[in-house]
Amino acid sequence: MATTYRPRPANGRHRVRPPMANFRRNPASPFRHVDVVLVMCIAAVSLFGAVMVYSATRGPTEPYNATFLKKVLVFLVIGGALMAAVALIDYRKLRDYWPFVYGGSLLLLVMVLVPGIGSKVSGTQGWFQIGPFQLQPSELAKLGLIIGFAGLASQFRGDLDNTRVAMLLGVCGVPMFLVMLQPDLGTTLVSVAVSFALLLVVGVRPRLLGALALVAILGTTVVLTSGVLQTYQKARLTTFIDQNNDHVSKGSDNASFNLEQAKLAIGSGGVWGKGLFKGPQTRLSKVPEQQTDFIFTAVGEQLGFVGSAGLVSLLGVIVWRVWRTAQLARDEFGTLLCTGVMVMFLVQAFENIGMTMGIMPITGIPLPFVSYGGSALLTMFLSMGLVLSVHMRRFT
């Protein structure tokens, strides 16, 4: 704001500019356009998730274990603060800085592959151990991909030729390739879906998209038949096709068993559920990895159809609000950012809930805002911060 000299007024004093004057006077002020519905939904879903994580980890009998609950609450506070901070920043600054964000996420992906820097958990080289916390760069990389794509595409201003499409494909492909090397299959699959949606929205010809889909399917086949995947990962992916295959469900650690227990938990909830903290499947830890990937089973068993449909509806509202923001965005960069975040959120929610109910393959994808897991939660808060920022600044 340019300052101009104004003579001293008659009463000898300058009028004091009251706080938030801009907010009151300027109808385009970003602060007047915070998407309150989205914020409320996010708050509701994440607090709900905290209760569910607690129910899945407190243990069957007293004394109950609250360490997970405490950690989730810490993450929620940090995540909320991050979201607010990102929302305050004008997202358009990223149009200048996206190469750093994107490059940074690639750098993390490369570093995590280096033994000694990154650490390995159940076959996947995908974590940084930072003190007591673990950072999963593949989660952040999904956001990096979205920002990189949106940044590059907005520079093309809708004028796409084959070279430029190839460049966009490259932006998507490099992080996906690095994530595959870990290997983290779930994140790769989400990235594929996000990339397709972004390519669609940015205006790539449908024929080309069809060709790409073909390549993706072929690629998946090759991946499944070659030795890139661990056996347990393959089993997880294919179990949902053959759910009544008894001979693989003997052991307690294999995929079919997980799915069986998950379906039992959700189904036994019935219409009204067993009541919070009263579901035997949840209380007795029948479902493996329940606080993370299979958190939805805790919802299904304890709160029944009413509770789980309610949660799915809330997630639906979030998807709708992000989609709406994509439409309302002032520029293409904003639209692409929101589209990416929306598809990422949508695919993760669908895949996660779908796998617990046996309609999707089992992959290690967390349920946004509900599953226990710091990196995923922070990534989601950051993403939603961007969406809020886009929404707030649609008139400026």
């Binding site: 039992l264 959700i266 189904g267 019935g270 007795l284 830890s285 029948k286 998807v319 949508l346």
Partner: protein, 712 residues
């Protein structure tokens, strides 16, 4: 991206999102609302494990509340399967080796516990993995102390006290009491299809295998308790649902009609007299005794020899014990004991210790059968009590010198003029050969099974229905059974009759000589129980009771609260008619020389018996058992049956001593030894020796004053 195109494409994304959410809702509805109830039921089964806590069996007592079987604690070593499986393989190996060494201390090499045995036990599917798997029982106190004090050296191993059967009097009444053992595979298969509703069995349970333990399994068996545990997905116990807990309830106490002191006297007498009768021509290896109460059919004692100690069978039967029970040399293989016995020569076959000869041994009743023959002849009108015949010592069935045409009395004795009373007292075979002969000759009038029809009324040829397993029905052959047997044999293998149906038919033809043999009790078989029961019905005036060994049952240790009470059960009423007095007089003369001038066959063994306090009658029997390979007569079986006379007789007893000579030689002294202390009331103050110990040699020596003279 131009504005409208971009909006259009975003719309596509929205449609995709909507369809995905639609799919989620549909699936959620299906799982929770449509399939919810069935998945819920499945989840409930999934969440708990039920462990059965066995209940102690009821005790077995005699009619005077002397405890014959109760329970004791056994120290059992178990391994918790779940915890064991969590150990590292090398720790498992080390543990099993160490445990095997500790448990084998003080055991002979063949009884030593091996690591292989422990491993097999752990993998045995009979044992629930939610309960510690028992790997050794009856370990010593020293071993228990080692295992408890060095518990950290034996992870997952626990030491518990368990109740097992205890026999305060050792082998006393072993056959009658029976024993318990693990469920056999076939039993378990049957049970797993149709299990007991109130007291369901589990595979590791023990059941009564013989004797009253088997008959009264339902009463003796306790009601198992139950613990319901919640388990997590690795089946680890998380906690117990205490509201579902059921405490085990011990089984009912069983009071038998047996008098343990009389039982001891009977076993001592049987074993002692077997020793006394043993000689170069009389092996005297086995026998059976029954003592009944004619008033209601209750069994007062039931002895069989050779016998065994049921305590040896506790916790499973080891191979040497099993071979010993079969009468085989304990050292040897148990793979196919039946085949091993089959391969032996008939004479060399072992004498099984498990058979209760008192009710499963079918013997020719010999002269004791004359009661039945006379009863039948009187009813058929073939004789009257007053008819007299002349007994020159032999009876001619047919003219000529064919074998079997001339039948002789025992010892060729000529008894002169004989009526029914005298025929019984002196045991005139000629009198009864004649009955058989007439019966066959008059078969046109009385039917070819006339004698047998009436004989069977006394209970011969059919099971008495006593409440003990493995009873033999004996055999009363008729022309029809004879022909059927030959036909069946021919059918099974024509080679039995040289492939000639005519020969088979001839072999199955009844001959007059058969009737004569049957009349003196040779072609028939009967159990000591049947014999005693038939005479009891004479003693009590005509009630043929179903014998029983149960007196009553009570809940555990509540002697006054009777659950089930013995009630006399009549098989049929026997009409002895006016001839009863003749029978009684004839049988009294057998033992008591003061009532007759005729020489009773058992007068000498019963010399100085206190008849005044126990008026007694009886009948001897000497059964021929055929010829051996060298055409020599095999040793005879010695039989005797005695009963109390009077208005309300309380005692009837029979004995069969195999290969022990004439009836007066072994069986009569045996019955005397049993009844004498009862007559003199010495039994009332008698104390059973510790562990029911019997020294047969000493019994024989102490009673060698009893005369064994006298004939059949």
């Amino acid at each position: 991206m131009s504005g409208d195109d971009g909006r259009h494409r975003l719309g596509l994304v929205a449609v995709m999102a909507l369809s995905l959410f639609g799919a989620l809702f549909a699936r959620l509805w299906f799982l929770q609302v449509v399939e919810g109830p069935s998945l819920d039921a499945q989840a409930a089964r999934n969440a708990t494990r039920t462990v059965v806590i066995p209940a102690p069996r009821g005790r077995i007592l005699d009619r005077n509340a002397i405890v014959m079987v109760d329970n004791r604690e056994s120290i059992v070593v178990s391994i918790s399967w779940q915890d064991y499986m969590d150990l590292k393989p090398e720790v498992q190996r080390h543990l099993l080796t160490k445990l095997a060494t500790t448990l084998s201390k003080g055991r002979t090499p063949d009884q030593a516990v091996t690591t292989k045995f422990l491993r097999t036990r752990l993998n045995d599917s009979r044992f629930s993995h939610f309960r510690p798997v028992p790997v050794a029982d009856d370990i010593t106190y020293d071993q228990e102390i080692i295992l408890r004090e060095e518990a950290d050296q034996y992870p997952t191993v626990s030491v518990d006290r368990q109740t097992v059967r205890r026999y305060p009097y050792g082998s006393l009444a072993a056959h009658l009491l029976g024993y318990v053992g693990p469920l056999s595979d076939t039993q378990w298969q049957k049970l797993s299809k149709d299990n007991d509703k109130t007291k369901p069995y589990v595979q590791t349970d023990e059941v009564g295998k013989a004797g009253v333990e088997a008959t009264y399994e339902q009463d003796l068996r306790g009601t198992p308790g139950r613990r319901v545990y919640e388990v997590d997905r690795r089946n680890r116990v998380v906690g117990e649902i205490t509201s579902d807990r059921v405490e085990p309830k011990p089984g009912d106490d069983l009071y038998l009609s047996i008098d343990a002191r009389v039982q001891y006297k009977a076993e001592a007498a049987l074993q002692g007299r077997l020793v006394a009768a043993r000689g170069s021509h009389t092996p005297a290896q086995s026998g059976g005794v029954v003592v009944l109460d004619p008033r209601n059919g209750q069994v007062r004692a039931m002895a069989s020899f050779p016998t065994y100690n049921p305590a040896d069978l506790v916790g499973g039967i080891s191979c040497p014990v099993w071979r010993d029970l079969q009468g085989l040399d304990p050292a040897g293989s148990c793979k196919d004991v039946d085949a091993e016995i089959k391969a032996m020569a008939p004479e060399a076959r072992p004498v099984s210790k498990l058979i209760n000869r008192a009710l499963a041994g079918a013997y020719a009743p010999a002269s004791t059968f004359k009661l039945a023959t006379a009863y039948a002849a009187l009813n058929l009108g073939l004789i009257t009590p007053q008819d007299t015949i002349s007994d020159p010592g032999e009876y001619r069935l047919c003219p000529g010198s064919q074998p079997g045409c001339l039948k002789r009395n025992a010892g060729h004795a000529a008894h002169g003029t004989v009526d029914l009373r005298k025929a019984l007292t002196v045991s005139s075979d000629v009198y009864f050969y004649r009955i058989g002969d007439i019966a066959w000759k008059q078969r046109g009038r009385i039917g070819d099974d006339g004698l047998q029809r009436y004989i069977k009324q006394l209970g011969y040829g059919s099971r008495t229905g006593i409440d003990l397993p493995a009873e033999s029905p004996g055999l009363v052959p008729t022309p029809k059974t004879e022909a059927d047997t030959a036909t069946a044999l021919f059918k099974a293998d024509p080679g039995n009759y040289g492939n000639d149906p005519a020969e088979a038919k001839a072999a199955g033809r009844w001959r007059g000589g058969y009737s004569a043999d049957l009349a003196i009790g040779q072609k028939v078989t009967a159990t000591p129980l049947q014999i005693a029961n038939a005479y009891a019905s004479l003693a009590n005036g005509g009630n043929l009771w179903t014998p029983g060994v149960l007196d009553h049952t009570t809940p555990a240790r509540q002697p006054t609260k009777i659950l089930r009470q013995f009630k006399p059960k009549l098989i049929r009423r026997i009409d002895w008619g006016t001839a009863r007095d003749t029978f009684l007089a004839g049988f009294q003369g057998v033992v008591d020389h003061s009532v007759t001038s005729d020489s009773g066959t058992a007068v000498l063994p019963f010399q100085n018996f206190p008849f005044s306090s126990l008026p007694l009658a009886g009948k001897t029997g000497t059964a021929q058992t055929g010829l051996d390979k060298l055409n020599n007569k095999k040793p005879e079986n010695s039989l005797f049956v005695g009963f109390e006379l009077g208005a309300d007789p309380a005692w009837a007893a029979s004995a069969v001593l195999e290969g022990a000579g004439s009836g007066a030689n072994a069986a009569a002294p045996t019955i005397r030894l049993i009844l004498e202390p009862i007559a003199s009331h010495a039994i009332d103050s008698f104390m059973i020796p510790a562990l029911g110990a019997i020294d047969p040699t000493q019994v024989a020596a102490a009673t060698n004053g009893i005369s064994t003279a006298g004939s059949d």
